[in-house]
Symmetry: D3
Subunit: 141 residues, 6 copies
């Protein structure tokens, strides 16, 4: 049963404050385009992050990778930097970025792609759920 | 961080009545094939609709598209026509169709593909959840 | 560890069509009061029914009651009569009733209170979930 | 089937930023007691609010109250003031309050108790879900 | 806003193996009464545990208790002893007990009631969810 | 509306006990690699299994396949063999396999691929959810 390609997904969560705005736009233009999401006093979300990796099952262990390693990477490179933080002000890898779900997901991909490769799997998808009605997925394209 | 391809999903909901049957079959044959789903007095569901669109992130806004526009399209072209309606009797774009989840999903695709293209994204998937145990997905193939 | 009072809840589901209306009101008055829920062509829901019973734990078995018996009662007296049915037209114990969630829950209580008492438990609550945003609970008061 | 007492619950949602802290404590003492929830740059949540009201079913309508009225009250008195807001800085009825889930739930009760009484129901419970692991309930005691 | 009584619930999870049986019954009698839950080779569940405590809100902190303390108690007295364990063979506080959800919930109550009292709250409810269709609640009656 | 390719997913559930270990490793080495999942006394899960099949919609019926047939196959070939069982000891198609989610998903694929082909659909994905934080997907690659 070796050399079959499996996809494994790990969910982690973080709670952050953010604001959608462009600093070069007026408050009025930000409000018009981003709506209440541009509130200068911030709002926030319980973000649910799903990281999917792929690769062959190791016949010696029945694992693609040890999930403890994947969880550790996501926590070290992402969750500890985002959880209970202001995503606009306090996150090094989100500086000079409009804090949309699209951009957060892509930036998370860039954070964890190499560390995941280092433990023997390929990053396949970063899915970021902002509310029960909205989520984004980035596949590295 | 421009020209990365992102997938965005918006969930909307509608509650409808329906019946699975072919008018050219007898009640007995309909019951035999479609089971209790062919009840002539109708039954119904809380349908959960997930619409996924794809395209490049706009570096000016951090958005693929403004979700308000996507939500408006789904509501104008689909939800207002299906919610609290009899899907067999009252929906113009489902006329002469067997009201299976398969056909509803495909017909929703045909309703929203062009309007979504008009706001600058490509429709990627229509997912229709009928119950917690059953759902269909259509990718335009 | 005997004679402790425990509460046990069993979930069952049914999918039905219904309409909210009073036959002695005009269509206009029904529409004004009940809104789109009064659509003469019906709409429907995936109802989730939670039945809670209470009583002492039997030290011989560790059970209040055997859940198979509770499930059988709910199915025989409720689910088989409601699932894939038109709740206005096809349910004997809902005749001459406005098919609101309130009235459905109370009528379900009246259906199962005695059979549950017969297997040695007391009916405590009937909870009926119509959508993810609305539910009712009836405690026999 | 009149004069039976029913409980009805309506769910609404809001996304807010907040911070747990006492202005008369040092940052160190706030951090020690409230942990990362005292981050001066805020964090946030998708709050899920469940409002339960009780009262007799009206035999004329099958309703305790019209859910549209309950939803309107919750939106007018609570959601519009909290959604996409900074709960510490922008909410009149939370001024001079430590923004814990406990205090938010109690303050919501005080906001909606009278308006709900005015539409003929009694407020029974305000439940506020902060994360999938934590929620509070206030019953007016 | 002091001396209001609030209810706070914390969810924790554990995955365990178990078997329902009485050692003084034959395998046949156990199978007849407990069904497939009496499988001598065990089966298992992802248990979801909800612990609800009550008491007055402390006006100094906005808290009933610090949730970190509640979580620590549940983990020390319950989760560490049950998670990834055989509930029949490896749990000191479940010895000589039929491992039904009813008995597990009651035994958990007895484990945590005093430690919770020691941090200034009253244990109100232990809710144990075995599957999406079945759960029990114990209120100390 | 013929010859469109649709994906249909059916969810089924099973509760099993298992243990992660290699018989040729010492208990210490198993514990070091697999952690508490290698507990010799077993632990267990509520597994949620999602089977996705694909193929053209039949214009005669509006169905890809009759879901009753898909559900029957999953129950006959998988659920009856796994539910309330010890996955290490009692499942013919898992013999001599490390009982990881990866290997269970792949073995389920091998069990149902041909029967599903026989009813006129192509197996597309086996998704196995072990906990709310972990799941695997196998696409036959």
């Amino acid at each position: 049963m070796s050399e079959r390609i499996i996809y494994i997904t790990r969910r982690e969560r973080f709670n952050g404050a953010h604001r959608l705005f462009r600093p070069d736009w007026s408050d009025e233009k930000n409000l018009e385009y981003f709506g209440k999401c541009s509130n200068p006093n911030w709002h926030g979300h319980n973000y649910h992050l799903f990281v999917t990796v792929k690769g062959p099952v190791n016949p010696e262990t029945g694992y693609l990778i040890n999930l403890k390693d994947l969880s550790r990477i996501i926590n070290d490179y992402v969750i500890e930097k985002l959880d209970h933080k202001n995503l606009n002000l306090e996150v090094d890898f989100l500086e000079n970025t409009i804090i949309s779900s699209e951009n957060i997901a892509i930036a998370i991909w860039d954070q964890i792609e190499k560390p995941i490769s280092n433990i023997g799997a390929a990053l396949h998808c970063v899915k970021l759920v902002e509310t029960e009605n909205n989520f984004v997925e980035y596949y590295g394209e």
